[in-house]
């Protein structure tokens, strides 16, 4: 199969950048802006599609580990953790499945994010509230940094050289 995603996106980007964009000289500003933004979106896909499986797998692994840590903390205080344990176990089952697709990883990660956020919201006044909040804040740092690295092709970072390396690129 000759038609790789990378080649498809590459040819479209060349056509838009080298043929369509110059032809829009004098067009309304918002038209040119939307073309630039469309090209940025396509270039993001070109750079990230080859890594999507590993990125989303890494994200799911990180949230499953986070859910375990949250469950352990609450369990030490005698709190209920059935939902957390079930979602973390489902994530591990998915990670061990050879037929899982990265869209499955995305769905499972969203379930974990949801269950952890619900536990945090429901912890107001609980004896473990402060420890749980601290755990979430401490864990968030690395997770958010990897999300920023993932979005780096958009060019928003003031000091991109300060970002860590991508954990999904081996």
């Amino acid at each position: 199969m000759n038609q790789s995603f990378e080649t498809e996106l590459q040819v479209v980007l060349r056509a838009l950048g080298e043929v369509v964009l110059p032809a829009l000289d004098g067009a309304e500003k918002h038209v040119v802006e939307q073309l630039h933004l469309s090209m940025a979106a396509l270039d993001f896909m070109r750079q990230r599609l080859p890594h999507a499986g590993r990125f989303y797998r890494g994200e799911l692994t990180a949230y499953a580990t986070h859910a375990d840590a949250v469950a352990d903390l609450i369990a030490r205080h005698g709190g209920g953790v059935a939902d957390l344990r079930a979602q973390a176990e489902a994530a591990r089952t998915l990670l061990s499945s050879p037929t899982a697709d990265w869209s499955d990883y995305v769905d499972a990660t969203r379930r974990l994010r949801n269950v952890i956020a619900c536990v945090v919201e429901g912890s107001a006044g609980a004896p473990y509230e402060a420890d749980l909040d601290a755990l979430v804040i401490a864990t968030a740092t690395d997770l958010h940094l990897q999300s920023r690295v993932w979005c780096q092709p958009f060019g928003f970072e003031l000091k991109p050289e300060t970002l860590p390396g991508a954990t999904w690129i081996k």
Binding site: H30, S38, A41, N114, E121, V136, H144
Partner: protein
């Protein structure tokens, strides 16, 4: 506590139970409740945003003006006006004889600002109209003429204001999206910065106590934090209604914002989007010509605007490669010092810290929830722009995390 994610995304298809639940859990101002509820119903019942022809806008605009004036008018030279990430805008010339039709024939250039089906900032045209009218005597703002708050004449709610001339971006750096990270350059910056600070102090000092203005705004009570809590809940409600995925840190910060909201010590009109990119200027004179984008304005605490203008999202590095310029104007502490000098009173560090957290939380909501949802649901005329800016949300989340740790250490 429910943690199941239903097979159908309830936020994409919000049913009555979902709408009733968010309204009950997150109490907000009356008008804000109306527009957020309207947003959900529009999302559920459709139609999604469809391109609107300029002829449709001309016809609706003429109908609205003629209904308001009670006599006929002529609209000419209508064309699209670019700029901004949220509103669809048309500029046109109105040939008329004034409001009473008794004056000499005159031509006034005006702008129609109409919201699309969804937006990064779901807001009220009624409130936007009222606040601009309330500050027209003290700040350079476009004149406001008429509002179609409930979309009687146009496809979506809209207002008509005067055309304000001026540039939003300097000629040497025209490429920034909606003014984010806008660099005005040292010469222009030196002239704009004192006005940027001075006009903000003037806005906040504008006393509307006892005046019959801004009726769509719930009046806060001095000494109470209820108005602040309503704002926090408005942001939280948007997060609940629009997010694509949840984020545990947002739950932590929301609890803190509710538990630490300061009582209001003085009532100010708060622009709530006071930053680089939201004003027009005369580049040759170095003068601010008009403040724009009043749609998110609230009655509240002056520290909210200051910490918003200083958000990292609107910063850039100075020419020395080391100093970071808030809203492209000056370093953050210099901004606070200049404001305190202009206002004639010191700032409260506790409130600065609180609203520093609040604004970071709000921006995360707008980028990771509102912008992402609006583009995913094909809700605007600029989906590609909203999708683009939503990717900034992770940097803002990272900033929220770091800033929150510093404030709560």
């Amino acid at each position: 506590m429910t943690t199941d994610i239903p097979a159908i995304d309830v936020r994409r298809h919000p049913d009555d139970a979902f709408v009733a639940d968010v309204r009950a859990r997150f109490p907000v101002e009356r008008e804000i409740d109306e527009i957020l509820t309207r947003k959900l119903r529009r999302r559920r019942e459709g139609p999604g945003f469809e391109a609107v022809s300029i002829d449709t806008l001309i016809a609706g605009t003429r109908s609205m003006i003629e209904a308001r004036l009670g006599h006929g008018v002529e609209i000419a030279n209508a064309r699209w006006l670019s700029g901004g990430a949220s509103k669809l805008q048309m500029v046109f010339d109105l040939h008329w004889r004034g409001a009473d039709d008794g004056g000499p024939p005159t031509t006034t250039t005006m702008v129609l600002r109409m919201e699309p089906a969804a937006s990064v900032t779901e807001s009220s045209r009624r409130r936007e109209f009222e606040v601009i009218a309330a500050v027209a005597d003290i700040l350079p703002v476009p004149a406001v003429y008429w509002v179609d708050a409930d979309a009687e004449y146009l496809p979506y709610p809209a207002l008509i204001c005067g055309f304000a001339s001026g540039a939003a971006k300097p000629s040497h750096d025209p490429g920034k999206v909606t003014g984010l990270g806008q660099n005005y350059g040292p010469e222009l910056r030196a002239r704009l910065a004192p006005q940027f600070v001075g006009l903000l102090a003037k806005l906040h000092a504008h006393d509307i106590t006892g005046r019959d203005v801004m009726p769509s705004f719930d009046r806060p009570t001095i000494g109470s934090n209820v108005s602040i809590l309503r704002q926090v809940n408005a942001a939280r409600r948007i997060w609940e209604e629009d997010r694509i995925e949840d984020e545990p840190l947002m739950a932590v910060v929301y609890k803190w914002l509710i538990g630490n909201a300061p009582p209001l010590d003085r009532l100010s009109i708060v622009h709530a989007d006071y930053r680089s990119g939201n004003f027009l200027f005369d580049e040759a004179k170095g003068e601010i010509a008009a403040w724009l984008d009043w749609e998110g304005a609230v009655l509240g605490d002056r520290h909210q605007d200051l910490t918003y203008a200083a958000l990292p999202l609107f910063q850039h590095l100075g020419e020395d490669g080391a100093s970071v310029l808030a809203s492209g104007m000056m370093p953050e502490q210099d901004l606070y010092d200049a404001y305190a000098a202009a206002a004639g009173e010191p700032l409260d560090p506790v409130r600065l810290a609180y609203f520093g957290v609040f604004n970071r939380y709000l921006v995360c909501v707008l980028l990771l929830a509102a912008a992402a949802r609006a583009s995913a649901t094909r809700g605007t005329h600029q989906d590609v722009l909203l999708n683009h800016v939503s990717a900034m949300g992770y940097a803002t989340l990272s900033d929220l995390s770091a800033y929150f740790r510093k404030v709560t250490a």
